[in-house]
């Protein structure tokens, strides 16, 4: 059978978020064997076009309920926003007296932040209506900084390692000839580190790093997603998703909840290549609580914007383009580029420049 959706949701640490619902998204176009009238009736025109008449292919595909997805996502931040107003670097950077220090300028300023996640996901389909997934992310992050502090005028901090592993289950709510609805619920385990350290200007040697440089949320989180796929004359999908976080982690904070609504329209360039366009609106909350290790003893306790938990979250509207390419009966490549069209952030906050995703899905 087929089911569709699109979502590639992000999860953690604070900017780059990889969730189990991502597996659902990537697997949305993975095909399984069809045999009954019901299964054939749910095929889209393009999916039907790709079917081989070989009876053996049906049996072979039907044998394996396993699927595998490898996904790489990258996001880059450059510049600053306060609300939806751009700030110059000099407006955010406090370069010492006689400049007036406020809660919106800082002696240390991250300039370019890049985050990359590689996610391996494995899915198992129990029956046409139920499937489960496990997603294991590996995160790599890099932040360039400037400051007026001797020996730290330009410096870069890197972290990498295992992120938060997610378990999730998807259930098909509606399956008609016109559309398909799925709901996915999961549990994100706090397997990513929230104790990453690096050499910052705060003191000699390594110190605890800001929220952006940590690898996990430190809390048990609950990703949810509702997905709609049209099977009519127009190939489009809608996804509503959220990441709900509970309690506080061992460092006395929790990341904000995330909510998003995304739509995608697929075109048919050829039977195997489908370009798409999409939009997504995302709302994320600020961090609750704070990590005391990031504070300095001074009238202004936050040495950089990324150490202030209030300067996280906001609203973003993305425009997306990409394509899917089913280059064999078992392998599909998806490439997506998203650009924020509008951002209204709890600032000053690093401004997202773009994000990209590439994934390869395979039915074992």
């Amino acid at each position: 059978m087929f089911f569709s959706g699109e979502k590639m949701k992000l999860a953690c640490p604070t900017y780059l978020i990889i969730s189990a619902t991502s597996l659902y998204a990537v697997m949305s176009n993975i095909s399984y064997g069809q045999s009954t009238p019901s299964e054939f009736a749910k095929l889209s025109l393009v999916q039907l076009f790709e079917l081989s008449i070989d009876e053996t292919q049906v049996k072979q595909q039907s044998l394996s309920p396993w699927s595998f997805v490898y996904n790489v996502k990258r996001v880059e931040f450059d510049g600053y926003l306060d609300g939806d107003a751009s700030l110059s670097r000099d407006e955010v950077w406090w370069q010492g007296l006689p400049d007036v220090r406020t809660s919106k300028n800082f002696p240390i300023v991250p300039t370019v932040i890049t985050q990359q996640a590689q996610v391996i996901s494995i899915g198992y389909q129990f029956d046409p209506k139920w499937r489960v997934h496990v997603s294991i992310p590996y995160l790599s992050q890099s932040t360039d900084h400037i400051s007026g502090i001797p020996n730290y005028t330009n410096f870069t901090i890197n972290t990498s390692g295992l992120g938060d592993v997610e378990l999730s289950a998807s259930h098909q709510l509606v399956n008609s000839a016109e559309n398909i609805w799925w709901v996915t619920a999961g549990l994100s385990l706090p397997t990513g580190s929230i104790d990453e350290q690096g050499d910052t200007p705060r003191a000699a040697g390594d110190q605890h790093l800001p929220y952006t440089m940590q690898l996990g949320s430190g809390t048990y989180d609950f990703p949810l997603q509702f997905s709609y796929q049209s099977l009519g004359a127009h190939d489009f999908s809608l996804n509503m998703s959220a990441v709900i976080r509970a309690g506080k982690n061992d460092r006395n904070y929790r990341l904000g909840n995330n909510y998003s609504l995304a739509g995608r329209y697929n075109f048919t360039l050829s039977p195997s290549v489908r370009p798409f366009i999409g939009v997504e609106i995302m709302h994320s909350q600020a961090i609750h609580g704070r990590d005391e290790a990031l504070l300095v003893e001074a009238p202004f306790a936050y040495p950089a914007s990324i150490t202030d938990p209030r300067l996280y979250g906001g609203d973003k509207l993305y425009g997306k383009v990409g394509f899917t390419w089913e280059f064999t009966d078992y392998l599909m490549l998806t490439v997506e580029l998203a650009k924020p069209l509008y951002q209204n952030l709890n600032g000053p906050q690093p401004k997202e420049d773009y994000r990209s995703a590439l994934n390869i899905s395979h039915v074992i």
């Binding site: 009238p37 019901s38 000839a177 048919t268």
Partner: protein
């Protein structure tokens, strides 16, 4: 329920017929009440049963124009007709029907859509002139997948 007697090739063709009803626009019927689109078959029993199962599920999933499945020999009128064998072109119920044929070997005159096999996959040709003569409009999404033909 699985239909063990029907080949996968025929299941695919049956499913295409359902999609043709979505991607081809028939002129609105002159009626105050919704009129179903009549799909007529001249096929094997097992094909008819499979098609009937698909149509039943499709009709139950509304809202959309319902499809009424009939045998060609019993039908008074057909908007869409699928033929596995050649029939008399003079049949009155086919006079304004879009004819879809199982393969070129059927040799039915005035057929608008013809299935064929290419690299183990089912493909189809659309005779644009035939569809234009029936006053039918076809979605560009369907045309992209078709081999376009014209009257000789």
């Amino acid at each position: 329920m699985e239909q063990p007697g029907l080949s996968k090739e025929n299941k695919i063709k049956a499913t295409y017929l359902l999609h043709f009803t979505k991607y081809i626009h028939w002129p609105a019927a002159q009626s105050l009440v919704p009129v179903p689109l009549r799909l007529c078959l001249d096929t094997t029993v097992v094909f008819y049963d499979f098609m009937a199962d698909i149509i039943t599920r499709y009709n139950a999933s509304g809202p959309h124009r319902l499809i009424q499945l009939e045998q060609v020999v019993n039908a008074a009128n057909c908007e869409l007709t699928y033929l596995q064998n050649q029939v008399q072109p003079s049949l009155s119920q086919l006079s304004h029907s879009l004819l879809v044929v199982e393969s070129e070997a059927v040799g039915q005159p005035h057929s608008g859509i013809t299935f064929y096999t290419l690299q183990r996959k089912i493909r189809f040709s659309i005779n644009i002139d035939v569809l234009a003569g029936l006053n039918l409009s076809v979605s560009s999404e369907l045309l992209k997948l078709a081999r376009i033909e014209h009257n000789a």
